[in-house]
Amino acid sequence: MNLIDKNRPFNFKFDGKALQGFEGDTLASALLRNKIQLVGRSFKYHRPRGIMGAGSEESNALMEIHNQGVIEPNRRANMIKLFDGLDVRSQNRMPSLNFDVMAINDFLSPFLAAGFYYKTFMWPRAFWEKLYEPLIRNAAGLGRLSTNPDPDRYDKGFLHCDTLIIGAGPSGLMSALIAGRSGARVIIADEDFEMGGRLLSDPQEIDGASGYEWVSSTLAELHSMPNVRLMPRTSVFGNYDHGIYGALEVKTDEINAQGNIKGARQVLWRIYSQNTILAAGATERPIAFANNDRPGIMLASAMRTYETRYDIDFGKYAILSNNSSTDKNRSDQTIDTRADIWIADTSGRKGLKSVTLNSGEKIATNWLGMSGGWNPNVHLTCHKRGRPKWDDVNACFCPDPNTLPDAMQVIGAANGEFTTHAAFKGAKKACANLGHKSGKSPKADDAPYEVGAFWHVKGKKRAWVDFQNDVTSKDIILAHQEGFSSVEHVKRYTTLGMATDQGRTSNVVGLAVLAEARGDSIPDTGTTIFRPPYTPVSIGAFAGPHGGQHFKPIRKTPSHKFAEENGAAFVETGYWKRASWFAKPGEQGWRDSVDREAFNTRRSVGICDVTTLGKIDVQGADAGKFLNKVYANTFSTLKVGRCRYGLMLREDGMAMDDGTCARFSDTHYVMTTTTANAVTVFRHLEFVRQCLFPNMDIHLISTTEQWAQYAVAGPNSRKLLQKIVDPEFDISNEEFAYMGCQKITVCGGTRARIFRLSFSGELAFEIAVPTRYGDTLVRKLMEAGEEFDVDMYGTEALGVMRIEKGHAAGNELNGTTTALNLGLGGFVAKKKDCIGKVLSQREGLIGDDVLRMVGFTAINPNDTITNGAHFIKMGDPKDAAHDQGYMTSIAYSPELGHFIGIGFLKGGDKRKGEELMAVDFVRNNHIKVKVVSSHFIDPDGERLRA
């Protein structure tokens, strides 16, 4: 019984050659059907290689899938479900698979033994980067990655279940059946596109019928259960904390007529399971003998799979085995090491021609199956650093019940129970442990598995242990000779087990060779542990849909549409897109726009969307007390209808954030934070509320997005707003003084809030309406401002004006500056405690010499001041020892007609008038600057109180 549908042929290409396969084929089986033996080259020696396995353990048959200039490298031929139009090419060869010049390495192999590169290439020094390394790099690597973006789509998702069953062989299917019948929510996943596991490959009977019939009827029943989810082509690749598993579901590799993959190519699932049954089966091992890597030599079980499931006719072939599992092979000649015969050597560079036995007998054959016994697939039991234990009888590592992840049971071959009968028994028991009763198990094969511990054939020639990475038994012995005897040292020194199969076929053989060299037993020598993922997972799948523009959300302000319509350039501020300036026709560059916006605002009026500042509603009987704790200055005394600037410290005394806080009633404050810190401040406030002062009556809720808020700044701002604000509200200087706040209505009854705040230093207001009105309000404001030549201004002009005023912002509140550094020492209230007060008084933070924020102007007014320059005293050497501070913010002031800067200078508060060098190597701009007050414009604040 095979699973090939010869009525559905597929055309595909291998290295440009047109070939045909069928529905049901993998690429590997299709290549074998086309009698192709040579399919790849090894990593180091570029040895010719053929297909070695029939599943994900493959280490030789790695291919590139090509599609319209995009390459997916290193695909295992056995894991590609054949489809029409597949274009696949061999890799790591130059110029061709058949003639690979890099194969010269194979002849130089005596000099390329384990670790050779640590001992040479040291002279001359400069040659490493220039010559040796490029040579090594070009020779190494496997497939190519095209430099084109990956065009495919990926999804991610979350699944919840009572029982996750990993593997759909006899033990997994039986478990699903029992658990499913009892009503549990079951997920059963298998990396193969056909469920059934070994039952699809080994000819055997279950309850008198063929194993395949049992699989079909079981699958049919499982499909009928709504509580069972069958997930073929799904590799459960990792076990994480608390029952979380990572799984990759391959939806399709198929490319449609448009040259695309429809829908998501792969889905990365995070599976939350209450219980897990690991039924992942076992992987056959090779045997290390001289030249055991010829194309045509493969695992015996793989040959059986290709014959049975894929209907491949190998003709005559031989089997080398140390165990009873190969009894199922239909070979013409079995070489059983248990009878003291083995293979001494082989011939046939690009395809096996013959094998020579230890007796000297030479057997002509093109195909050889080898079986060195079986390794249970214990990988997922190790991901949380569980260690398997050695089973002497079965000569393999089995899961150790004492180190299993929580709520995981291991059954069947994965648990070292290799018969179908034992698989069923294991399933029954595992399900019973979960409270699922079951009837009698079907009758199945129970012939015991017997294995002789035969690992490698000693000799002078190379015998491969890790096929892909070209690690031979001699390499392992040499590593031991050089003192690399710990198994971890051997792995790192020889690269054993580091290939794309993560040592699935090589680790145990390698360990056995090492144990023999050390004269220890295998369990005393070490163990194999595995890290996720079980099989490699596309980075694209881990990224899911979050590439390109979808990397992070985009937050748009209420005036976004209006800004787009008016020439705005946007800047990323966290996830927000803020308008940085609004280009008008005729302007030559961003500076033109920014200068105009700043200048116009100071001359007449400008409008800026400040919605992105965090807004937090603070309500409660203890609101004042609470704010006194979180702000350095006092808020309990703030009068209703007033605002106050607030400086917030971290507990270590550094400035955390600043903003204003308005009081609307005895129990109601509205705090604003900087855009960048809105989230962290909220989190901090919740910490203070819940963890430090749990008995205060305080309630916090973010209203950042609830209110669209615009700054209206400039000498004409009041006049403009008077046209918008409903007449019953008085915003004259007398009735609504600087730092006032009130609830008002605008435009005929629309609810609003107005704050008399100024970041620009001009007469200014901030007006807020529910966001639903945000788009219309900005249009109304601009309409109302037409007579004043109102301008929108962006973050750049905002920055210019705040620097002109010497306000600290993000560049200064950089997490390493104290209130004192910022010139805000006076804000830390003397009488009360606040968060950060105690530690802000440490000796290193309060000396005369600490950094102080000051202003700078260029001595030559035509010089450009640059950000990030360091200050050096005139005449001092330009080195770290003489560094006096650094420039944090700079701007061209259209009002002053030259550049200005603010920065931190040691003891700067007492150094006004001093001349310094502002040293900027990376822009090659060293200029002379003078220390000045950071209040460049209207230092007495007359304008904002107007």
């Binding site: 050089e482 596309s538 990224a543 990397f551």
Partner: protein
């Protein structure tokens, strides 16, 4: 035994019979002058410099497991000296200069490969911070170039310039940055130290300190007590556990940092690229694997393994920055224990206990520091005077308010 091309040739022709163990496997002696606790990169380097530069004799390195099994064998192999604060930059530049001579110094090819490191900026404030940082680097004798977008494109044309959520606005390029074959560093120092008489004792776990009247005179180990005049502890992620045996609490939390490697690929990525807007950095090893990582998982952990959210976060950053790597496959993920200090910078200092010295708090930056850390620790152990470039790495800097906080995150280790 000297390693050379000639020697490799000769051994190749004679069946490799002449290679000797890279280091001896001695039993511990009853007493040493100086004991280093911890056979990682830093500990082995300290032992080497003690013997080579500071003329110390009777030195032992005690390692709980096998040497190089901790972070020196688990990191993403990057070396660089691109710090902003002078207290760090001077030290890391000293390290980089030692890396540049390491192979000849040790007679071991650790594959120091200066293919450059590029830090990307995505906003003007980031570019400005890079300017400040680049200037700091140059003030400390390092190299730095501030790039605009075109400059970045020249070095890494494959980055996402056209469809990026966070557009690339420039970068800071240190040409002398690069990668080093991490395991080889441990082996190279071990071999060179061993050749100078240092006893490297594996499978020897320190279980206690002999402290009396404020003086430490030896250690208890799984292989018996060992006396010493001076004991230096250099155990990275295990710092708190080991120093607790001396009754000390440290300004350190242990966190897990995951790292990732892809399947082997032909050369694609030239140097090291660090994504300033995502949590992602990548280089390509000589074997062809993309070696990449991102942020800490973020919680205290000694488990040497992490969880899925960070894996996904890192890969999202990777694909959004370098769209072609979607088609590469992640081969292996693992975790290391980071001794995260309270300001993100290390400690190399005496303790209040005479004879007991501490080296730790390396956060995730320990690998690149290896030679300088070893050198500075050796000098401190040998002379009781801090190395010039490591003077700021004092234990008491937190009580004095002299933190060295590159990122400005304050006393929350998982944010550094």
């Amino acid at each position: 035994m000297r390693y050379s091309a000639l020697k490799v040739l000769k051994e190749g022709l004679t069946g490799h019979k002449g290679w000797k163990p890279a280091w001896r496997k001695p039993d511990p002696k009853a007493a040493y002058d100086i004991i280093i606790v911890g056979g990682g990169g830093h500990g082995l380097a300290a032992a080497y410099y003690l013997a080579k530069k500071f003329d110390q004799k009777r030195i032992a390195v005690l390692e709980k497991g096998w040497i190089g099994g901790g972070n020196v064998g688990r990191n993403t192999t990057i070396v660089r000296s691109n710090y902003m604060l002078h207290e760090n930059e001077g030290f890391y530049e000293f390290a980089l200069k030692l890396w540049e001579k390491q192979e000849q110094d040790l007679n071991y090819n650790t594959m120091v490969s200066q293919r450059g490191i590029l830090n990307l900026a995505h906003t003007d404030p980031q570019r400005h911070a890079f300017a400040r940082r680049g200037n700091s680097m140059i003030l400390n004798g390092a190299d730095a170039v501030l790039l605009d977008t075109a400059g970045v494109r020249k070095i890494c044309p494959f980055l996402n310039f056209d469809d990026a959520r966070f557009p690339i606005r420039g970068g800071l390029w240190q040409k002398r940055g690069g990668t080093v074959r991490h395991d080889a560093v441990a082996w190279g120092y071990a071999r060179a130290a061993d050749m100078r008489g240092v006893d490297i004792i594996e499978n020897c776990e320190v279980t206690g300190f002999d402290i009396k009247d404020g003086v430490c005179s030896g250690v208890q180990t799984s292989r018996g007590p060992i006396k010493a005049k001076k004991i230096g502890v250099s155990v990275a992620g295990s710092s708190s556990r080991v120093m607790a045996m001396a009754g000390m609490r440290l300004p350190i939390e242990t966190h897990v940092l995951q790292a990732f490697v892809s399947e082997g690929l032909k050369p694609t990525i030239p140097g090291v690229v660090t994504y300033g807007a995502g949590h992602f950095y990548v280089s390509q090893s000589d074997k062809g694997g993309l070696v990449f990582g991102g942020d800490l998982d973020g919680y205290n952990s000694y488990a040497q393994r992490g969880n899925l959210p960070v894996v996904e976060d890192v890969c999202e950053g990777g694909v959004s920055l370098i769209p072609m790597i979607g088609k590469a496959r992640l081969l292996r993920m693992w975790g290391g224990l980071m001794d995260m200090s309270m300001d993100g910078s290390p400690i190399i200092d005496k303790t209040h206990i005479d004879g007991l010295y501490f080296n730790g708090g390396w956060c995730y930056g320990g690998f690149k520091a290896t030679p300088a850390s070893g050198f500075a620790f050796a000098q401190l152990l040998a002379t009781d005077v801090s190395h010039d470039t490591a003077k700021a790495y004092r234990m008491d800097r937190f009580s004095k308010g002299l933190m060295i906080d590159e990122k400005g995150q304050g006393g929350q280790p998982n944010l550094h």
